[in-house]
C-alpha cells in the first residue's frame, strides 16, 4: 500500500516525464522540419543555421577581411576560400554577396562570359537575397560598381543569356563592373 506522499511523488514524476517528453518531442520535430526545409550539407551549416535562427551566428571577421583583400586584388579563388571560412554556414548575406560578385568578376570577359561561373554567382546571390528579411540587399562599398543584389542578379542573368547583342562588336568596349 503506497502512502499519500508516495502516490504524490509518483504522480509528480509521471507529470515531469510527460511534460519533458512532449517538450523534447516538439523541439526534435521542429529541428527535423528545419533540416528538411534548409537541406544543410555540412555540420557547419547545421550549427550555423541553428545559431542564426536564434540570432547567435557571427562570421569570422578576420577571414572576411582577408577575403575582401583578395577580392580587391582580383584573386577570386583565394577570395572565395577566405569568404567560405568567414561564413561556413552560408548564413551571412553580405559575405554571400561578395562571393557572388567574385564569380561575376572572374567570369566576366570582353568577348564572352563564363556560364558556369555565372551560374555559381546566381546561386550565391540567391542565397544572399534569401537571407535578407525583405529580399532587399544593398552593400555600401565604394570599390564596387554594383551595390544591390538585384543589379548583380540582372548582370549575371544577362551574361548567361544568348541573343543578338552577343554579336554586337561594340561589346568589346564594355567594362567590367
Amino acid at each position: 500500500m503506497l502512502s499519500a506522499d508516495g502516490r504524490n511523488g509518483a504522480a509528480r514524476r509521471e507529470l515531469n516525464t510527460r511534460l519533458g517528453g512532449l517538450t523534447v518531442t516538439i523541439a526534435y520535430a521542429v529541428l527535423i522540419a528545419w533540416l528538411f526545409s534548409h537541406q544543410p550539407q555540412t555540420v557547419a551549416q547545421i550549427t550555423g543555421g541553428l545559431a542564426a535562427t536564434i540570432g547567435g551566428y557571427r562570421i569570422d571577421e578576420q577571414a572576411f577581411t582577408d577575403g575582401l583583400r583578395f577580392f580587391r586584388n582580383d584573386q577570386f579563388v583565394e577570395a572565395r576560400l577566405a569568404l567560405g571560412r568567414a561564413d561556413p554556414a552560408l548564413r551571412d548575406a553580405r559575405t554571400q554577396f561578395y562571393v557572388a560578385y567574385s564569380y561575376y568578376r572572374q567570369g566576366w570577359g570582353r568577348l564572352y562570359h563564363d556560364d558556369s561561373l555565372y551560374a555559381e554567382g546566381l546561386k550565391a546571390v540567391d542565397r544572399a537575397v534569401a537571407l535578407t528579411p525583405d529580399g532587399r540587399l544593398s552593400i555600401d562599398d565604394g570599390d564596387l560598381r554594383i551595390h544591390t543584389a538585384d543589379e548583380l542578379r540582372a548582370e549575371l542573368e544577362a551574361g548567361r543569356r544568348h541573343d543578338g547583342s552577343d554579336l554586337n562588336p561594340m561589346r568589346i568596349f564594355r567594362e567590367r563592373k
Binding site: 510527460r18 512532449l22 518531442t25 527535423i32 533540416l35
Partner: protein, 218 residues
C-alpha cells in the same frame, strides 16, 4: 522505463529518428527527403493494419479518461508512427523509373492484402519483417548492383543491355553505400519501435491466450 516514459519519450523520439534517418540520401550531394504524398497515404493504411492486428491499441494512447497531457503524448506518438511508417515505405520504394511504379503498387497491394487477411500482432510483425527485408534487398542490393557505375566490362555491357531493353526505365540513380546502411538501420529501428507500441490487451482463458476483440467477434 515506465509506461509514461515509453509513451512520452521513447516512442515519439524513436519514430522521429526513423523519419530523420530514413530521409538521408547520400549521393553527389546529401539530400534530406521527406516522405512523398503517396508514402503518407500508404502510411495511413499501415496504421489501420497496425491497429487492426492489435499491435497498437489506440485507446491506450488517446482516450477521454486520460489527462490532456497524456493525450498530447499519445497524439505525438501516433503522428510519429504515421510519419515514420511513411518514411520507411518511402525508403523501400526505388527512386525512379519502372521499379518505382511497380514497387509502389506492390506495397499498396501487400498492405491491402494484409488488411484483408486480418493477422494478429505476431503474424503482422513477421509479415512486415519479410516484406521490408525483401524490398530492401531488391532496392539496395539488386537494383543498386545493376545501376552501380564503373565495375568490370561485363557489368558495363549488362548495364547497356538492360538500359536498351528497358528504355532506361530500370536503372536507378547511383547512391553512396552509406545510404543502404542508413536505410537498414531505419527499418530495424522502426520494427523495434513497433514491438514497443502499447498493444491490445490479451486475457488468459483456460490456459489459452485470447484477444479480447476477436473473442467478442467470434
Amino acid at each position: 522505463m515506465t509506461g509514461a516514459g515509453r509513451e512520452a519519450i521513447v516512442l515519439p523520439l524513436t519514430f522521429l529518428t526513423v523519419l530523420l534517418l530514413g530521409s538521408v540520401r547520400v549521393a553527389e550531394t546529401t539530400v534530406l527527403a521527406p516522405p512523398s504524398v503517396f508514402a503518407l497515404v500508404l502510411g495511413l493504411l499501415f496504421i489501420r493494419i497496425v491497429v487492426q492486428s492489435g499491435t497498437l491499441a489506440p485507446q491506450r494512447l488517446l482516450a477521454s479518461s486520460r489527462s490532456t497531457l497524456a493525450n498530447a503524448n499519445g497524439l505525438a506518438a501516433l503522428i510519429g508512427l504515421w510519419l515514420a511508417a511513411a518514411q520507411v515505405i518511402a525508403v523501400l520504394i526505388p527512386d525512379s523509373g519502372l521499379p518505382r511504379i511497380v514497387c509502389g503498387l506492390l506495397l499498396l497491394i501487400l498492405l491491402a492484402n494484409t488488411a484483408a487477411a486480418d493477422p494478429d500482432r505476431t503474424r503482422l510483425l513477421r509479415s512486415l519483417t519479410v516484406t521490408f527485408g525483401a524490398l530492401f534487398l531488391l532496392k539496395f542490393v539488386v537494383l543498386a548492383q545493376l545501376s552501380a557505375p564503373g565495375g568490370g566490362r561485363l557489368n558495363r555491357i549488362l548495364q547497356t543491355l538492360l538500359e536498351g531493353m528497358t528504355l532506361g526505365t530500370l536503372l536507378q540513380p547511383s547512391q553512396h553505400a552509406v545510404t543502404g546502411y542508413l536505410a537498414l538501420a531505419t527499418i530495424v529501428l522502426f520494427l523495434v519501435a513497433l514491438v514497443l507500441l502499447p498493444m491490445r490487451s490479451v486475457q488468459t482463458t483456460g490456459g489459452a491466450l485470447v484477444r479480447n476483440d476477436r473473442e467478442s467477434r467470434e
